[in-house]
Amino acid sequence: MLTILFDGIAYGMLLFILGIGLCITLGLMNFINLAHGAFAMAGGYLAVVMMNSYGISIYWCLPAAFVFSALLGALLERTLYVHLYDKSHLDQVLFSIGLVFIAMAIVDYAMGANQQIVNLPPSLEGRIDFLGASIGVYRLFVIAICGLLTVGLQFVLAKTRFGSRLRAAVDDGRAARGLGINVTTIFALTFAVGSGLAGLGGALSTGIISLDPTFPLKYMIYFLIVISVGGTTTITGPFFASILLGVADVAGKYYVPAVGGFIIYTIMVAVLILRPQGLFTRSTSR
């Protein structure tokens, strides 16, 4: 029971780190970036190559994945995405799906279609007993990192000048521009950090789920569920949505394996019917 809860939380935390960048950029620029998972995949593959081909420790791979994906995100944002902000949602969807296809083919070409697996250092393998429940050390590691990042993010958003500007820009971009806040710069930075977090999440996920070129498509649906349930106006919304999703998914498969696959989709559709703006959004005056 506790083990299931724990597994679910670990899975949810991972989804949160993978998807939070998408939530913020969507809230900020009303931009639907379905290619977000490609940045996660980039980080994941970088970690795989570093660990498996060069034997570099996972503790170095994680920050490297973050930096790599963040730089990639910043580069693409400045060169490509910037042309798309004033286009229709349909154009954004098509453009980002196009990017996903390109990313999948490039990875397939460079790395092959096989599932990539990393072999974790012994210190992160095995299980420990906690309150009578058996818990995987690596999942604990994932929870710890994601938890720290969440607290850090929340701190940045709530306590720093950048955070208050970001929140203002998410709340009402037009008003924020009027107040002299440089929304474009904030967006570029946020996009880079969001991509970096996705890359970090991708690198972390290689220890739990496997990585193959279809990763961005497979997880796109999960990200979108997180957003639609959690909304895009806060980071606590997506956070709780991710945890809920992770726990519901794992618990569903555990207790009612026959219908396990339905549960998350059903939750999503139900939430969207009852609360089209998301489960955890405050009512907005807009």
């Binding site: 083990t3 299931i4 597994d7 899975y11 498996n52 397939d108 092959g112 279609a113 096989n114 599932q115 990539q116 697996i117 072999n119 393998e125 095995g126 299980r127 058996s134 995987g136 690596y138 999942r139 739990i208 789920i209 496997s210 279809t214 497979k218 997880y219 998914d249 794992v250 618990a251 569903g252 498969k253 555990y254 394996p257 026959a258 396990g260 696959g261």
Partner: protein
């Protein structure tokens, strides 16, 4: 036959001639073999293994047989059934192939069945493993394996080696259910007990919950089946879940310990026992030659059971053509294939004249480390084993 006449009338003489004379042209010197394989998508590795093996066979044996030149055409169906069917139709109608082959997954093979029947073209199943496929068309012949064939031996072996209670975990699709059913039948007939049958969705990134459930039921062993390619993720999670520490043995079919991926799965697998029809490690001169040649042509791949299916599929085609003296008549070819027997890299195999399914040795193997690499090392053999569900 009004409609044929109707179309003949409007089509003009050229096409009508082809229609009237039937599909395999009378005295063509080239025999075209059309392989329909998933080269992209989730099952891409299956297609790439089979293509590599088929090309290897032709390279080794020359492209001439019984006075005819063999030409291989490979088409990618992306793992979608409607495309397999359309490609089969086009290969027959457009490229005038005499023999079809490949078929990465059960639904893809089934989609081609009506075409093979209608066109009277033999269709060699080189991968798909659901038992009932060969019943769907009299032109299906199989050189891969069936799930009951590969599963029953491990079920019997387990029951006889001190395992009493088992939880099965399979992918929720035809072959998975075949494996689940065969395991239960074979295991319980020999005194064991299957205490829970879990089915994971085919497209499932996370097995954690299912494995936890299996672990909590405290069986003696967990039986696993997932299609080729998903084994890596599954085994990583098996290790992470700590089944071995909890005293639960892990057994399965060789699909899980896919030779091609085995090395990347890590040392956690050492000691896992599976039953299967082919191992890269199989100890025979035929296999040693096959593996060496395969590795030479494809440095980054290790031949797995899919490659064996593709290689033997081509062997079957060559032998059948020799027997018919080069005739490409579909009915004659299938008749020639029935009962053919030879020694393949995987050991002695033959085609059951009654079912057109393959009869082969099934081996019980254990994952071991040799020269720094992981292999499925065979330690027991069930010789000339037929699909037990197919009478």
């Amino acid at each position: 036959m009004f409609h044929k006449g109707f179309f003949k009338g409007i089509l003009g003489a050229g096409v009508a001639l082809t229609l009237a004379t039937g599909l395999p042209a009378i005295a063509q010197e080239t025999v075209k073999v059309g392989l329909i394989l998933p080269m992209t998508g989730a099952s891409a590795s299956t297609g790439r293994q089979i293509e590599a093996a088929a090309k290897l066979f032709i390279a080794q044996n020359g492209n001439k047989v019984a006075g005819k030149t063999i030409e291989l055409i490979v088409k990618d169906d992306q793992g979608t059934a409607d495309m397999s069917k359309r490609l089969a139709q086009e290969l027959v109608v457009n490229d005038k192939v005499s023999i079809l082959g490949g078929f990465g997954l059960t639904p893809l093979a089934l989609a081609v069945g009506p075409v093979a029947t209608q066109a009277k073209v033999p269709a060699i199943i080189m991968a798909a493993g659901t038992s009932m496929i060969v019943d769907q068309s009299p032109f299906f012949v199989r050189t891969s394996f069936t799930l009951p064939q590969n599963t029953t031996p491990i079920a019997v072996w387990s029951a006889k080696n001190g395992i009493k209670k088992v939880v099965t975990l399979v992918s929720d699709f035809g072959p998975g259910l075949d494996a689940e059913k065969s395991f239960k039948a074979g295991f319980e007939a020999n005194g064991g007990q299957v205490i829970e049958q879990l089915r994971a969705p085919l497209a499932n990134p996370d097995f954690a919950a299912f494995l936890q459930k299996a672990k909590d039921l405290k069986p003696d062993a967990v039986f696993l089946f997932v299609p080729s390619g998903q084994g890596a993720t599954l085994m990583k999670q098996v290790a992470e879940r700590g089944l071995a520490q909890a005293g639960i043995k892990v057994i399965g079919t060789g699909d899980v310990t896919d030779d091609d991926l085995l090395n990347s799965m890590g040392d956690d697998l050492i000691g896992m026992i599976t039953s299967h029809n082919y191992s890269t490690d199989h100890n025979s001169p035929e296999n040693a030659a096959f593996v060496a040649a395969f590795n030479k042509a494809n440095p980054n791949m290790r031949p797995n059971f899919m490659a064996a299916g593709g290689y033997d599929g081509m062997a079957l085609i060559y032998k059948a053509l020799e027997k018919t003296g080069g005739s490409t008549d579909g009915v004659k070819l299938v008749e020639a294939m029935k009962g053919l027997a030879w020694t393949s890299p995987r050991g002695p195999i033959s085609i059951d004249p009654a079912t057109r399914d393959i009869i082969q040795n099934v081996y019980i193997r254990k994952v071991e480390k040799k020269n720094g690499q992981l292999y499925n090392v065979e330690f027991d053999t069930i010789p000339n084993f037929k699909d037990p569900t197919h009478k």
